[in-house]
């Protein structure tokens, strides 16, 4: 398989001996136009990769912040086409771009067609938090055919045996969910995270990124000490939700991205 922009990003950050900063934003949030602006602002403020969320009606993995953002986005009429449009904006902004989505929208769109549209819009891969490896047959054929990274999520409760099975199917990076629970900013990133990353590394040489809970430069620095990527989602979304206007929100996420970009360079 040829290497994706995401693969190349981790080669670069490893050469620079630092972690990558990965931001999550749902398509169509805070509005369709606002999302495009937010993506460009994040890319200009030191974010290395962007995950475009496919807003879904039943997001069982997400805490209240991302639920609220998804609801706003869906009420604004966000469709699959808007997800791919946001993906294209991200991939054209000089960052590696992926989509994060629950499985049903992929199945409904058409499994092969979804992977093809990811590729056509410059996407490097897809994170599928509720797709188990047992149900992945058709998906892995499609990601392989269209040369994109199938990114799987592992959890602190994942057994060593199963970690090996999951990481053997994974491409791009392994998404390590730092705590048992749903998405959302937390005061402390669990100690489970570093243990989980260590366990993942015994099974694969793929980069390992940590998500669920990071919101500050200090936390980014702590995670960057042991992980290849630091994923920040709810913290950006909270700023956009709490801002008095879109302009103010976009200024706030740019500020935070710059801080976090410093953090991921301070960890080692």
């Amino acid at each position: 398989m040829t290497s994706t922009a995401l693969d190349q990003l981790f080669q670069k950050t490893r050469a620079e001996n630092r972690a990558a900063l990965i931001a999550y934003i749902p398509a169509g949030f805070p509005s369709k136009a606002g999302c495009e602006r937010a993506i460009k602002a994040l890319a200009e403020s030191g974010v290395d990769a962007i995950e475009i969320g496919f807003p879904y009606s039943d997001p069982v993995m997400d805490g209240p912040t991302i639920q609220e953002a998804a609801e706003i986005s869906l009420k604004g009429g966000t469709s699959a086409a808007d997800v791919f449009s946001a993906l294209k904006t991200a991939s054209s902004s000089g960052v590696a771009a992926v989509v994060m989505t629950y499985w049903n929208p992929i199945e409904k769109y058409g499994v092969d067609e979804f992977a093809q549209s990811i590729r056509e819009n410059g996407g490097s891969g897809v994170i599928t938090p509720d797709l188990t490896i047992e149900e992945s047959g058709r998906w892995l054929s499609a990601t392989s055919k269209h040369e994109i990274n199938p990114i799987y999520v592992v959890a602190p409760s994942t057994s060593d045996l199963r970690l090996g099975e999951v990481t053997s199917k994974t491409g791009g990076f392994v998404y390590a969910a730092s705590v048992m629970g749903v998405t959302g900013a937390r005061t402390n990133v669990s100690v489970d995270a570093s243990e989980l990353v260590q366990r993942v590394r015994t099974t694969t040489s793929l980069p390992v990124s940590v998500g669920l809970g990071v919101s500050t430069r200090e936390q980014a620095k702590q995670v960057a000490a042991y992980a290849d990527g630091v994923i920040v989602g709810s913290a950006f979304i909270k700023l956009l939700l709490n801002a008095a206007s879109e302009d103010e929100g976009i200024a706030a996420i740019s500020e935070l991205a710059k801080e976090l970009a410093l953090g991921v360079r301070e960890g080692r």
Binding site: D58, E134, E135, R138, V153, S157, M180
Partner: protein, 398 residues
């Protein structure tokens, strides 16, 4: 679409499986192992059978509804009286089984979702009986429709958490319960109330309910000396239907008919008839029929019956539909309420509005099959909880 092969069990043709966060896989494997062991464990089976005999009130009886039958083309109508179980519905069968499994797994806390409140009440009951902590998630909309059941759960010592996200009904209560489970999985068992969700739930919940069909098949044979021509049950998630169907699946001469909630009419889009009006997709961890839009977003369901108001259905029903072993029809709110009133006045039995959908189906199928036919109906619950809804529908002042 090709049928995927998989190493895990729990597929019904292309349906079923597991579509869940990795964080839950360990708990699902643990549950599957506990269930498989319990099925083979004579001590567990004896314990459950004793609870059913001395607590649930099993076996539930069969009542022949002769006056009601006059409105159903004269066909013989036999009611399997799950409404007479302790807590007032079939839900107790599954709940006692899973609560026993919870204790075997060494967990002290159960969580449950509920729509009509019947599963929540049953869960709170089992938790009280076995000394477990119990939290029930219930859509805010449903807590209003089913205020009596909220009070029952609280009296039984459960904490009821109203869910204010999404459509504020059963599907959102399941989302919230799954979020709780992902967070507290090491101490908590998710006592799912229907034959949906990730493997092993569809298989396990069916196994705890199949006693309905096992009893009924023997009872009907004893009563009329032959099998019924058709077995009818309402289908929301589908637990009471699979419970009564399962034993009859090999009896291919017996028609299995599931009655879905047609709401205002399937053609209006305001309904909960998932097989009749939906398409294959993934919801709440399983592949089955789903009410969904072109992007795979779940469409909100509508039904006068809170217990059938769900945009998904158990994967085994999807499979039985596709292979033609069972048939599924939609019953509109008005037809269900008509059958509800008719059973009250002809038989002195107030059915749950859910079960009234099966009764409405019997009125139609009885006409189709004529006076020589015998229909077995699963009267899955009693209607006490529905009195205020029915009073409002029929214009009775409370």
């Amino acid at each position: 679409m090709s049928i995927e092969t998989s190493e895990i069990l729990g597929h019904f043709g292309q349906y079923g499986g597991r579509f869940v966060p990795e964080a839950l896989i360990g708990a699902l494997n643990e549950l599957e192992a506990a269930h498989v062991a319990a099925q083979k464990d004579p001590v567990f089976q004896a314990e459950l059978a004793e609870l059913h005999r001395t607590y649930t009130g099993r076996p539930s009886i069969i009542t022949e509804a002769k006056r009601f039958a006059q409105h159903a083309g004269g066909a013989r109508i036999l009611l399997k009286r799950e409404d007479l179980n302790h807590t007032g519905s079939h839900k107790i069968n599954n709940v006692l089984g899973q609560a026993l499994l919870t204790k075997k797994m060494g967990k002290q806390r159960i969580i449950a979702e509920t729509g009509a409140g019947q599963h929540g009440v049953a869960s709170a009951t089992a938790a009280a009986l076995m000394g477990l902590d119990c939290v029930v998630y219930m859509g805010e909309e449903d807590t209003r429709r089913q205020a009596l059941n909220v009070a029952r759960m609280k009296l039984l010592g459960a904490e009821v958490i109203p869910v204010t996200t999404g459509s504020k009904t059963l599907k959102d209560a399941i989302n919230e319960a799954m979020r709780d489970w992902v967070t507290n999985v090491s101490t908590t068992h998710y006592l799912l109330g229907t034959v949906a969700g990730p493997h092993p739930f569809p298989t396990m919940v069916r196994d705890f309910h199949k006693i309905i069909g096992e009893e009924a098949r023997a009872q009907v044979l004893q009563l009329i000396g032959k099998l019924p021509d058709a077995v009818l049950a309402c289908v929301g998630g589908g637990s009471n239907a699979i419970g009564i169907f399962h034993e009859f699946i090999p009896d291919t001469q017996v028609r299995l008919i599931g009655l879905e909630a047609g709401g205002d009419g399937v053609e209006t889009g305001r309904h909960a008839a998932t097989i009749t009006g939906g398409s294959p997709g993934v919801l709440h961890g399983t592949r089955s029929y789903v009410l969904q839009d072109k992007d795979g977003q779940t469409i909100e369901s509508h039904s006068i019956s809170a217990g059938l108001d769900y945009p998904g259905v158990g994967p085994e029903h999807a499979y039985l539909h596709d292979i033609g072993r069972a048939e599924y029809r939609a019953i509109n709110d008005d037809a269900a309420m008509n059958a509800f009133a008719l059973l009250c006045k002809t038989e002195g039995i107030i059915p749950a509005i859910e079960s009234a959908h099966a009764l409405a189906g019997a009125l139609i199928v009885g006409q189709e099959l004529g006076p020589d036919a015998t229909l077995l109906i699963n009267l899955s619950g009693r209607g006490d909880k529905d009195v205020s809804t029915a009073a409002e529908y029929f214009g009775i002042k409370l």
